[in-house]
């Protein structure tokens, strides 16, 4: 067993998930079974292999350019007039579970001792 119940609780905390006790036990079992399968990657030597985070820095770009210059097609001139208007305030708030009409509201972050 690579992943213990303690690991699951720690990771759930990082992920902002509150797992019920039943969910915790199931998660320990599932993560171990999945990670055991993932371990086959360790049979590959990847010492000199560069990591790849996305495909678009390999394809469809001007290969003669270097670094961020290769993405220069995403640049545009600054726009001083005629910017797209932002989302109207009421629409931005419309899906919120709780607002005071102006702001999103949440429980107090700092409690008085």
């Amino acid at each position: 067993m690579k992943v213990t119940e303690k690991d699951v609780l720690y990771v759930a905390g990082l992920a902002n998930l509150e797992l019920t006790e039943g969910e915790q036990a199931r998660m320990v079992r599932d993560l171990n079974s999945i990670l055991e399968y993932m371990d086959r990657l360790n049979t590959l030597d990847t010492t000199d292999v560069p990591a790849m985070a996305q495909t678009s820095d390999r394809f469809g770009l001007d290969q003669s350019k270097q670094g961020t210059e290769r993405f220069s097609y995403t640049y545009r001139e600054d726009i001083h007039n005629g910017l797209r208007p932002s989302l109207p305030h009421d629409e931005a708030l419309a899906n919120a579970p709780e607002t005071d009409g102006t702001f999103f509201t949440v429980p107090k972050v700092i409690e008085r001792a």
Partner: protein
């Protein structure tokens, strides 16, 4: 009018020539949905008033004798992971149960600008995470060919609607096979374009470096029409590529004689159902008869694709799904007292088991002490998988494989075993990791009458070649 075989061109021509109106056609589809979708469950939300308004606009153009846009009056469905202004969008999740988006996904906007009529939003696995559609928080989808079986996933509703004639075409999304595998299971055409070919703006993010939008249709020509409409650079998505969009439809007729078609032995190994194998091999022979040169190729890292995919995809998902915090939209747990309790309880109540599993796996793979061993390792193997295809595409113009190792499995058959479910994606995940386009087209049936899919993979931004091959093969079967 036979809605089971109705294609985009026929619908548009019938409307243009006055044999039907866009409004009548829309009503006809809603009656069909009423009649059939109860047993199938492809739709999550219908937007009839919006659709009839749109159809009325098309009928005005007809009356005034004005030119009709390319998809005029064509009834379509949209996978519920693409936002639609004013129409509830859930991503198949309870956490977005009441979400009414304030804007519309670029691909949907482009379909509507081309005259398409959106009938409703299609059922799918929660946040597109699944291979059977059983992870929908609302209801499962039943395969129209056999109601005891899954339609595939995650775009199960999108595939089942096309297969049951409750939409002419639909949009799906593909992160690890979610367009191609349900297309194969339901016996329709499913096209995943090159990464960056279609804007992701307004697609609720699962794994941003792997997410693609693409069409599910009855014919290859319809897929070409849909892609031509939605493809191209969009300033709202900086990863959408600035690469010219060819006229895919016009190129379909170009002969495929002399094209080099690769067959990789790694896609015909253990675990491949023998009837699927026979059917796909038959399709390869057909392509040879059409004048293609069949060339064996090797993709030696194929066995590492599933672990690589499920590490990269879950890591990205754990980050993307952090936005669901119960503050700006989505579910918020009741009776909570602190901020952290609000986050944790809202997410625990809002997300289903598979989504939690993937968030946990991704968070674990990114956490201190495991990042190098899992996430970074997977990113490096992603490079090796990409090199496999770069090598192969020096020799060949396209690669053909089965889309899925089996035909549609039974509802409930794999739902208790996440790993078994992940392995169902074995032939589709690599194209997502590499960013190349792929199409699944029907190539036969097993002895129970369940559809089998042929997958054709192509070079980056070369959808034209795989569409031509698919179209020629499709014509050779008729």
């Amino acid at each position: 009018m036979d809605l089971d075989t109705l294609t985009i061109d026929q619908a548009r021509t019938d409307i243009a020539q006055g044999r039907t109106s866009a409004a009548d056609l829309t009503e006809l589809f809603y009656s069909r949905i009423e009649e059939r979708d109860g047993a199938i469950g492809a739709y999550l939300t219908l937007c009839k008033e919006r659709a009839l308004n749109k159809a009325a606009g098309i009928d005005d153009l007809v009356r005034q004798g004005k030119p009709l846009p390319p998809l005029a009056g064509v009834p379509v469905g949209i996978k519920d992971v693409m936002v639609t202004r004013g129409v509830r969008t859930t991503a198949g999740s309870k956490i977005l149960n009441n979400y009414i988006p304030p804007y519309t996904c670029t691909a949907v906007e482009r379909l509507e600008a081309a005259g398409a009529v959106v009938l409703g939003k299609m059922n799918c696995d929660e946040f597109a995470m699944g291979s059977s559609n059983e992870n929908s928080a609302y209801k499962p989808v039943h395969n129209p060919r056999d109601l005891t079986r899954v339609p595939g996933g995650s775009s199960g509703g999108s595939a089942a609607a096309v297969a049951s004639g409750t939409a002419i075409a639909t949009l799906g999304s593909d992160t690890g096979g979610s367009i191609r595998q349900p297309a194969a299971f339901c016996g329709v055409v499913g096209l995943m374009p090159t990464y960056g070919r279609v804007s992701r703006y307004g697609l609720i993010a699962f794994a941003s470096s792997l997410d693609h939008i693409g069409p599910l249709t009855k014919t290859v020509k319809d897929a070409a029409l849909m892609l031509r409409t939605i493809a191209g650079r969009d300033p709202m998505d900086s990863t959408s590529a600035d690469v010219p969009v060819p006229d895919y439809v016009a190129q379909l007729a170009k002969p495929i004689h002399g094209l080099k078609v690769g067959v990789a032995k790694e896609y015909f190994g253990d675990g491949l159902d023998s009837e699927v194998r026979t059917s796909v091999e038959g399709a390869i022979q057909k392509l040879a008869k059409c004048g293609c040169e069949i060339i064996p190729v090797s993709l030696p890292h194929t066995q590492y694709a599933i672990p690589t995919y499920y590490l990269v995809a879950t890591a990205e998902a754990s980050s993307n799904l952090a936005r669901f915090d119960g503050v700006r939209y989505g579910h918020r747990a009741a009776g909570i007292r602190t901020l952290s309790e609000m986050y944790e309880r809202s997410r625990d109540e809002g997300f289903g088991p598979e989504v939690k599993r993937r968030i946990m796996l991704g968070t674990y793979a990114l956490s201190a002490g495991y990042y190098d061993a899992y996430y970074l390792k997977a990113q490096k193997v992603r490079t090796l998988l990409t090199r496999d295809f770069e090598e192969a595409f020096r020799e060949v113009d396209a690669i053909v494989t089965p889309t899925s190792p089996t035909t549609a499995f039974k509802l409930g058959e794999k739902s208790d075993d996440p790993l078994a479910m992940y392995l169902a994606d074995i032939y589709t995940v690599t194209a997502d990791l590499v960013g190349i386009p792929g199409i699944s087209i029907p190539c036969g049936e097993d002895r129970e009458g369940l559809p089998i899919g042929l997958q054709i993979l192509g070079r980056h931004f070369d959808e034209s070649t795989i569409l031509r091959l698919a179209h020629t093969y499709e014509s050779s079967r008729n």
